[in-house]
């Protein structure tokens, strides 16, 4: 593999692992404070799945990088501008409505994405995708059902979900914004172009929003800068300050 393709592969793997790490971290912030005991368990379970997937993606990223860094080095010793996650996943939880709607938007992307990655020419990518897909399918079932219930539930819940939708919508477009890394992955048969999943995603979202009696904004504007690392939100730095505190305060210590 030539160096340029290898660099793109590392960037691609970091995108996968940073997405699951950052969303897993946000989800884990709910520990002990969810609206009901069942939700506490489900959120912890989702966070656990996402952190498990992170170990696989970042572990492989570290191997391909080949500089001796580990998955933990990548998670706990990089600065914000080296993170390649979607902006949507780093914004604060705000409330249960935004948390679950964000999960749904992500799951509705991940399911067809991981399904396609199972056919990757890179066997490791295909293997991680196959394992992650089983979890993503369950997450999508749960997040879509919950979004429908909360949209349809009461006037209060409907207006909260609509507010979450209006807030998150401008962050969704970034999932489908192809760049040179995506072109390189597509060219090598490692991953499809994310833009090819846009129509299917819009269809799934429309179906769930209709059942949830929520109105998707007309705007096609989209914030960008997360998956390239060029301009994260202000929130990521605070998340990393919390997440990385022990590794940063005690460099080289084993835990």
């Amino acid at each position: 593999m030539d160096q340029t393709l290898k660099d793109h592969l590392v960037a691609f793997l970091l995108r996968q692992g940073d997405n699951t790490l950052v969303l897993g971290h946000r989800t884990s912030e709910w520990c002990g404070t969810a609206p009901a005991l069942e939700e506490d368990i489900a959120l912890a379970n989702t966070a656990l799945d996402l952190i498990g997937q992170t170990q696989l993606w970042l572990g492989y990223a570290a191997e391909v990088e080949g500089t001796g860094r580990t998955a933990n080095d990548l998670a706990f010793r990089r600065d914000a501008y080296d993170f390649k996650n979607l902006l949507m996943l780093e914004v604060p939880n705000e409330d249960f409505g935004r948390t679950i709607l964000r999960q749904f938007f992500f799951d509705a992307f991940q399911v067809p994405w991981l399904d396609a990655l199972q056919g990757s020419t890179d066997e490791r990518v295909a293997g991680i995708a196959a394992k992650s897909l089983k979890e993503a399918l369950y997450h999508l079932d749960r997040s879509s059902e919950t979004v429908i219930a909360l949209g349809d539930g009461t006037e209060v819940s409907n207006s909260r979900m609509q507010a979450a939708l209006d807030y998150l919508w401008p962050y969704t477009g970034e999932m489908f914004a192809d760049d040179a890394t995506d072109a390189a992955m597509s060219g090598a048969g490692i991953a499809p172009l994310p833009s090819t999943l846009h129509t299917g995603w819009r269809g799934k979202v429309a179906e769930v929003m209709t059942s949830a009696t929520l109105t998707t904004p007309d705007s096609t504007f989209s914030h960008k800068g997360g998956r390239t690392g060029t301009r994260h939100t202000e929130h990521l730095g605070h998340m990393l300050a919390t997440m990385q505190v022990l590794q940063r305060s005690h460099p080289g210590a084993a835990w």
Binding site: L37, R160, M243, W255
Partner: protein, 325 residues
């Protein structure tokens, strides 16, 4: 333990029925939800199981405090799994309590209004990562002492819940010990954190068993009913006997100069905790009582719109189904 200072309820039932009930317990039979039981047995169990369930739920908070700061992906995953187990234990226990005729919402309301308690231990703060080790090693370790015998308790649903819980608790205890091992084999700062955690958690862990109850009429009644299997002092001694060699193995010093193996008894002699501190914690004056309860209250209040919406959606779905038929 996770259930502390449970007063047994006086019972005013037909003496013949009471005698038959006691005979079943003495014969080692399990009491099931539909069986006749004295009102005092039912009420005492509700209080005990409810307090245990609340302890699992409130007990998520001191560990949740470190999930977002766990130092590696493995530790983060382990801690998440542990806290998820605790929520699951809460769920089994609330279900066991429901078989006695009290709803989960009712028990939650009693917790939030202060009419029901949770274990004193969860009113202590978790200040460093080593506290995740100390909580697993000492707090789960102390909980196991009580919960293992409760697998044989007389009330069927409680005994069965305890079987599942014990399997997971012993795993948590090992996980905590493993964190402590890493800390004591680490940098001087990590060793200091480990010793500091032991210093802060030792006496609160001893308090988990509750004050001596060898002369308590409530404990005597509960033991007769086999919903309490050992005295508090027996369990505390067993805990000290098992933990002291573990601390020595870790190279940590238990903060008790009087702790020594008594050659005559084969047990460790040790200093009792400061029981006035225990009573302060029970009177809502522990270091974290206010924070713990306000966190639970906030979660309950913030989640009300979600719970209401779930119920409303389920009703609408049912109505739509009926209309379609």
């Amino acid at each position: 333990m996770y259930a502390q200072m449970i007063k047994s309820e006086a019972t005013e039932d037909d003496p013949e029925k009471l005698a038959a009930f006691q005979a079943r317990i003495d014969a080692g039979e399990k009491i099931e939800p539909k069986d006749w039981m004295p009102e005092g047995y039912r009420k005492t169990l509700i209080r005990q199981i409810g307090q245990h369930a609340h302890s699992e739920i409130v007990g998520q908070l001191p560990e949740g405090n470190w999930i977002t700061r766990a130092p590696t992906l493995e530790r983060k995953a382990n801690l998440l799994a542990k806290v998820q187990d605790e929520a699951g234990h809460g769920l089994y226990l609330y279900c066991a309590a429901e078989t006695l005729g009290v709803s989960r919402d009712d028990l939650t309301e009693q917790l939030l209004s202060g009419r029901m308690k949770y274990s004193s231990i969860f009113n202590y703060p978790t200040l460093t990562w080593a506290d995740m080790g100390a909580v697993g090693w000492l707090v789960d370790g102390a909980a196991i002492m009580n919960q293992v015998p409760l697998q044989r308790t007389s009330y069927g649903p409680y005994a069965r819940a305890m079987v599942r819980i014990c399997k997971e608790e012993s795993f948590h205890q090992r996980q905590g010990f493993h964190i402590m091992m890493a800390m004591v084999n680490g940098t001087p700062e990590q060793k200091r954190m480990a010793q500091d955690a032991l210093n802060r958690f030792w006496y609160p862990a001893l308090m988990m068993f509750g004050p001596s109850d060898k002369d308590s009429v409530h404990s005597a009644q509960s033991m007769k009913w086999r919903i309490k299997m050992n005295t508090n002092d027996e369990l505390r001694q067993k805990f000290v006997d098992e933990t002291a060699p573990q601390a020595a193995y870790l190279g940590l010093t238990i903060p008790d100069e009087a702790l020594t193996l008594n050659e005559d008894t084969g047990h460790y002699d040790f200093t009792q905790p400061d029981w006035s501190e225990f009573h302060d914690v029970l009177a809502d004056n522990g270091p974290c009582n206010v924070e713990r309860m306000s966190a639970r209250q906030k979660a309950w209040d913030d989640g009300a719109w979600v719970r209401d919406a779930m119920v409303a959606h389920a009703e609408k779905k049912r109505a739509r189904k009926v209309a379609a038929e």
